[in-house]
């Protein structure tokens, strides 16, 4: 019968769903993990640095210097918590960790600002915290450059930074789209990695391989239900992101779900491959964590991809999460269409194909 393989695949899938619905822990993970992660990451991770403790040493004491100080304070980026009377005093405050930023206005501040030939004021930053350094450096350029230098018409080092897709610089907007990928990586790979190993451990496989079920039918039946679960998780994260953090959906939802489908497929492929390599459920979990860490660190989810060394970027390009993070940010924040992001679509397809082929080849319908 032509339809026999489909019936066997469906039998495996139905069985898998029944088991899933009865396994409360797994079921709780499907819903609970996205919920927890969105709330944790959305609220806790904040690369948008505000309220830095700052000290001011205003040796100029002019109207201009005072207005710069009040401007800085109004931006909420810095909170002036101390006033120093000399440069060494300011340095001491920084060194002792009482403040992380020091604003120093030399006595000839007005003249320097007017000529624009040399830096008018000094921003001392606690460089021992790299994120802080980066952020403060950005701030340092802005108010002086845009406001005071053009008054004299000198175009020297003029930067106007405009943030296009996240104008309020809210971290959640960047993180939630990428979080879809992180949650899917964790749950999809883990569930399928455990799926076949569990049958082996419980002795089910010994019976199953004496039946006409083929390797491909077994694999297809196993991943089918998880594709649906993955799409449910995508919906949960999207909904939460929209409700809690007003994460926009600029592009089409269809494009997003299509991208998610591709990513889910490649994650499941990886999970199945792990499942054929591991001997116990514990090993399967270890292997999952082993693949999870590089995904988190090298995909551009946590650290900017462009800032990574070349070698790390190559590894990153091999990970499905890297491409999916780009796709979701593109579709959700920039309203991009998938056909414009083909360079990040085909790697997912290739990854899926390669892992599935390897898993099917690696899995023998034998016990030895």
């Amino acid at each position: 019968m032509l339809l026999d393989p489909l019936r066997r695949t469906r039998a495996i899938a139905v069985k898998e769903v029944r088991q899933l619905l009865r396994d409360r822990l797994t079921f709780a993970m499907i819903v609970g993990l996205p919920l927890l992660q969105v709330i944790l990451f959305g609220y806790a991770i904040n690369t948008d640095v505000r309220h830095l403790r700052a000290a001011v040493a205003d040796l100029a004491g002019t109207q201009l210097s005072r207005s710069v100080v009040s401007e800085a304070q109004a931006s909420q980026v810095v909170d002036i918590v101390a006033v120093a009377h000399s440069a060494p005093e300011l340095e001491a405050l920084l060194r002792d960790g009482q403040v992380s930023v020091g604003l120093y206005f030399p006595p000839d501040f007005d003249r320097r600002a007017a000529t624009g030939a040399e830096p008018a004021a000094q921003l001392m930053v606690d460089g021992s915290d790299p994120t802080l350094l980066g952020v403060a450096q950005g701030i340092a350029r802005m108010p002086l450059a845009t406001r005071y230098v053009p008054a004299r018409g000198t175009p020297a080092a003029l930067f106007e930074i405009r943030d296009f897709y996240n104008p309020e610089r809210r971290s959640a907007v960047d993180i939630v789209p990428a979080l879809i990928g992180v949650i899917l990586t964790l749950t999809m790979v883990l569930f399928t990695a455990v799926a076949i190993v569990r049958e082996r451990e419980r002795g089910n496989l010994e019976l199953l391989i004496t039946t006409p079920v083929s390797t491909i039918e077994l694999m297809a039946g196993k991943i089918g239900p998880y594709i649906v679960i993955g799409l449910i998780q995508v919906s949960i994260v999207l909904l939460l992101g929209w409700l809690l953090f007003s994460v926009p959906v600029e592009g089409s939802l269809a494009a997003l779900y299509l991208a998610a489908l591709l990513f889910i497929a490649s994650s499941l492929g990886l999970g199945l491959l792990i499942s054929t390599l591991a001997k116990t459920q514990f090993q399967a979990m270890q292997l999952t964590v082993f693949t999870f860490l590089p995904s988190i660190l090298l995909s551009g989810f946590m650290f900017p991809f462009d800032g990574m060394p070349r070698f790390a970027q190559w590894i990153g390009e091999l990970l499905p999460l890297t491409h999916f993070v780009r796709l979701t940010r593109g579709v959700l924040l920039r309203g991009a269409a998938l056909d414009g992001m083909w360079v990040d679509v085909w790697p997912l397809l290739v990854f899926f194909a390669v892992t599935m082929v390897l898993a099917v080849l690696k899995f023998h319908k034998r016990l030895d």
């Binding site: 139905v14 069985k15 029944r18 419980r202 019976l207 083929s214």
Partner: protein, 315 residues
């Protein structure tokens, strides 16, 4: 190979590293029979069955099951095979009905077959009240019935049972064997491995396996009649002392105690064995009686495998 045998093997061998689990086994198992593998744990029974099902690849030797070469044609054979593993291998978190439905789907039975076979199984294996119960909550005997029901749902021509009743009470075991005789009467060939004598005795044909080798083969009756030993039954008030005395004799192959009685296996070539033993045990008092007795299956097993405390002393 002649097709009138359900299973034929020539020189079937399986090695795990340096250990030879199955060593040059030749089998000819006729159709529609219950054929038993009798042997101690670790003798290679399960390994042999797994090779016959195509679950393990033989290191060397030839296998034909129902005329199919294994493992080359194992896939084509699967539809005609039923296999019941040593430990329960259905899904414990599915109900009895769901497990049976799963097996029916996997063997792609038609809708009507599916319904009627599951209904039959429900009747035949007394699963009626258990149908909606999770398989994990069943008792040992109930699990065994479900296992057999699932393994026979697609009406296989050949059924492999790997120590099916080791975790089952005697009553359940008797019921289980009644079902096996039903199946054999319907034409199913059944290969069952066991280390229980009462089970082995019910088989039509029997192979005694020891340390990976086939050491004796035949029907239980012919094996018992053809035993390569003289069997003496000794009744005594002090069987321990008698056994100790017998074990010192070079012509005694083994001594087994059964309650207050002893079974002693003597080398067949011993001249006047009965007289010798009677003379030996004269000093044990008037209650000590020695007589010749027909061999039981355990005697055959001990004689063939050379495994018992007595046998080690005699060796």
């Amino acid at each position: 190979m002649a097709p009138d045998y359900a299973i034929e093997t020539r020189g079937l061998t399986r090695r795990f590293g340096k250990f030879t689990a199955v060593d040059g086994v030749d089998l000819n198992i006729p159709r529609a029979q219950i054929y038993g593998f009798l042997g101690p744990n670790g003798a290679g029974k399960s390994t042999t069955i797994r090779m016959l099902c195509g679950l393990l690849e033989p290191s060397s030797g030839e296998v034909a099951v129902l005329g199919y070469r294994v493992p080359e044609q194992a896939e084509a054979l699967r539809r005609k095979l039923g296999y019941m593993t040593q430990s329960f291998s259905l899904y414990t978190d599915l109900t009895v009905r769901e497990n049976l439905e799963f097996m029916a789907e996997v063997f792609t039975l038609s809708k009507s077959q599916c319904a009627s076979r599951i209904h039959d199984a429900e009747q035949r294996y007394f699963l009626g009240e258990l149908m909606e119960q999770r398989a994990g909550t069943l008792s040992g005997g109930q699990k065994q019935r479900l296992g057999l029901a699932a393994a026979t749902l697609h009406a296989p021509e050949m059924l492999f049972l790997d120590e099916p009743t080791s975790a089952v009470d005697p009553q359940s075991r008797r019921d289980f064997w009644d079902r096996l005789f039903d199946l054999a009467a319907e034409g199913t060939t059944i290969l069952v491995s066991t280390h229980l004598m009462d089970e082995a005795e019910r088989c039509h044909g029997l192979a005694i396996i020891s340390r990976g080798k086939l050491v004796a083969e035949g029907s239980p009756q012919s094996l018992m009649q053809g035993i390569d030993a003289l069997v003496l039954e000794i009744e005594s008030e002090d069987p321990r002392r008698c056994a100790a005395l017998l074990n010192q004799q070079p012509y005694v192959k083994s001594v087994t105690q059964i309650g207050t009685r002893l079974h002693a296996l003597l080398d067949k070539r011993t001249q006047g064995g009965l007289k010798q033993v009677q003379g030996l045990l004269k000093g044990m008092g008037p209650g000590c009686q020695v007589r010749e007795t027909p061999a039981n299956l355990e005697d055959v097993f001990v004689s063939a495998t050379g495994r018992s405390n007595g046998a080690q002393h005699a060796a």
